[in-house]
């Protein structure tokens, strides 16, 4: 007497547009931001020296639209970015080049691995602030100290990832290539480089995030313009709302860079892997890495 009834969950009743909105991921994300704002406001209420959201956003508004404070002109908030970005880009570029070279050397030779592996791990573990201090002591004020802080902080992440990528090249494919006497050029172009690409991207994302922290620390100690210097300017002026406002700009920049550039590049590089995903899986994955709607 039993009767099997098959229903697909979630589709018994069509949802109205409001119903869909209430269940959407966008709303969930929005709710998490609101929650953070509330917590921030509560902390600010109980701690006098800590600026609340309203204060900070008012400051941010003036910083972006115009005004004057002591010796500096406000309203040109892009100027510090214009000073910081070349240093950042140069630091990351050097890290990528030297990171790949180091990674290939260490990944390709047991001897080099034994020699350098621990050094590399120590470098990964060193916080950027150590380099910021040291470079300021060595080189004093100027671009060099900032670029080198960025490079030294980001570089080990690239190298470590490239080493792992090279060691993860499937043995079966290496043997297949050897059996067929595939030329060295083809082996690099079609087997080794693609095998390492995924790891290189992971390395690049780490390098960018770590490097962005490092460039700001470097500027905090060694520069007289740029985003890091500007945060310090307001900090030294006892304007904590200004300091927090620049922290927000700084976070916004790295999030946008990651979402808009790096995640897209990564998706392009992994077309071969995603080709077999169904539409549902692809959507799930996009939510996981947070690019939906970006």
């Amino acid at each position: 007497m039993s009767q099997a009834v098959v229903t697909r969950s979630g589709s018994e009743r069509p949802l109205g547009s409001i119903g869909r909105l209430l269940r959407s991921d966008q709303l969930a994300r929005l709710a998490s931001y609101l929650f953070l704002l509330v917590v921030w406001q509560l902390v600010a209420l109980y701690e006098d020296r800590f600026p609340g959201p309203a204060e900070v956003f008012r400051f941010l508004w003036i910083e972006v639209t115009g005004g004057r404070h002591g010796g500096i002109v406000r309203g040109e908030f892009l100027e510090p970015f214009a000073a910081t970005l070349p240093r950042f880009a140069l630091g990351i570029a050097i890290s990528m080049v030297l990171g790949v070279v180091t990674g290939v050397v260490i990944g390709g030779s047991k001897f080099a691995e034994a020699l350098f592996r621990d050094t590399l791990l120590v470098l990964v573990a060193l916080p950027a602030i150590i380099w910021a201090f040291l470079t300021q002591m060595w080189m004093g004020l100027g671009d060099d100290a900032v670029v080198i802080t960025t490079f030294l902080s980001a570089f080990p992440f690239v190298a470590v990832n490239v080493v792992q990528g090279i060691q993860a090249v499937p043995r079966d494919l290496l043997r297949m290539s050897r059996s067929y006497h595939v030329s060295r050029y083809r082996r690099w172009r079609h087997m080794l480089i693609p095998a390492v690409t995924g790891y290189l991207f992971a390395g690049l994302r780490f390098a960018v995030i770590v490097g962005w922290n490092a460039v700001l620390l470097g500027e905090w100690f060694s520069a007289s313009d740029g985003v890091g210097w500007r945060s310090r300017y307001w900090y030294d002026a006892n304007r904590y709302q200004g300091f927090v406002a620049w922290v927000i700009l700084f976070i916004a920049f790295i999030v946008l860079l990651d979402r808009l550039v790096l995640v897209r590049l990564q998706r392009r590089a992994f077309r071969w892997r995603d080709a077999q995903l169904t539409a549902v899986e692809r959507q799930a994955e996009e939510i996981d890495i947070g690019v939906k709607g970006a």
Partner: protein, 258 residues
């Protein structure tokens, strides 16, 4: 069509730990194949089948004896089909074919297309391996092996990871391609029924990698697993295989007793 000569081939692996003994994978193995033949090497696991292929493909060095593959005066070309497809996952099927084919780009592409058509995948060129089923991937592996126009084709249990129905289809297809291309094939398997269905000659190896029997199978290709003659030949070979196993077990028992 190449000539493969294996003369007094030996391969022993040194003991891994101090207490254990060295193992003999291949012991004084000699045979010769040549011409348009499909030869199968069968044997229980551990009889040195994979070691033999590794030596032939240059991945391992023999401990003694020699192997040579000759094609007239020049060095013979070899093709390989592995247990797994071993395709580059980040390259399309066509790029995987071109990876191993030498010659001018147009000619290479022509050849790749021809052999993909031969394995029944004329339109798969732009797809990535992950978009194909396991059987289709293995067919690409077979097309790749034929596309280098090898003098000797080495196949290492190429159907053992596939389901029975897919494997059966591929066995029939392989015979058709073999009849068309007239290559020398050395096919390794542990499946005696497969060996009988495919080959002109079956080399049966005993544990320790010595040649136990060398059996010709004189039946026309293509053969189906359901053919009566094939079934009878399979039964006969299975009987020999069982006899061999009994002898091996008896020898082992006396060795333990002494």
């Amino acid at each position: 069509m190449a000539t493969l000569q294996v003369e007094h081939l030996n391969k022993t692996f040194p003991a891994i730990e101090r207490r254990s003994r060295s193992t003999t994978a291949i012991g004084d193995l000699s045979f010769e194949i040549g011409g348009h033949v499909f030869v199968t090497v069968v044997g229980p696991s551990g009889c040195g089948k994979s070691t033999l292929l590794n030596i032939l493909s240059g991945i391992e060095e023999p401990t003694g004896g020699r192997v040579s593959v000759s094609e007239g005066e020049r060095q013979a070309r070899l093709g390989y089909v592995f247990q797994e497809p071993r395709l580059l996952p980040w390259r399309t099927v066509m790029q995987n074919m071109l990876y191993v084919i030498e010659g001018s780009p147009a000619e290479a592409r022509d050849r790749a297309t021809r052999y993909l058509r031969m394995v029944g995948l004329p339109d798969a060129g732009d797809q990535f391996p992950s978009q194909l089923s396991g059987g289709m991937q293995q067919r690409v592996g077979i097309a790749r092996a034929f596309s280098v126009e090898p003098d000797l084709l080495l196949m290492d249990e190429p159907f053992s990871h596939l389901d029975a129905i897919t494997a059966r289809g591929l066995r029939e297809q392989l015979q058709e391609i073999w009849v068309q291309t007239k290559k020398t094939v050395l096919f390794v398997t542990h499946d005696i029924t497969e060996a009988v269905q495919l080959s002109n000659r079956v080399l049966m190896l005993a544990p320790g990698g010595r040649l136990y029997a060398d059996v010709p199978i004189d039946l026309p290709h293509p053969r189906r697993a359901s053919d009566t003659e094939v079934a009878m030949a399979q039964a006969e070979l299975l009987r020999q295989f069982e006899t061999m196993q009994k002898e091996v077990d008896a020898a082992r028992a006396t060795e333990i007793a002494s």
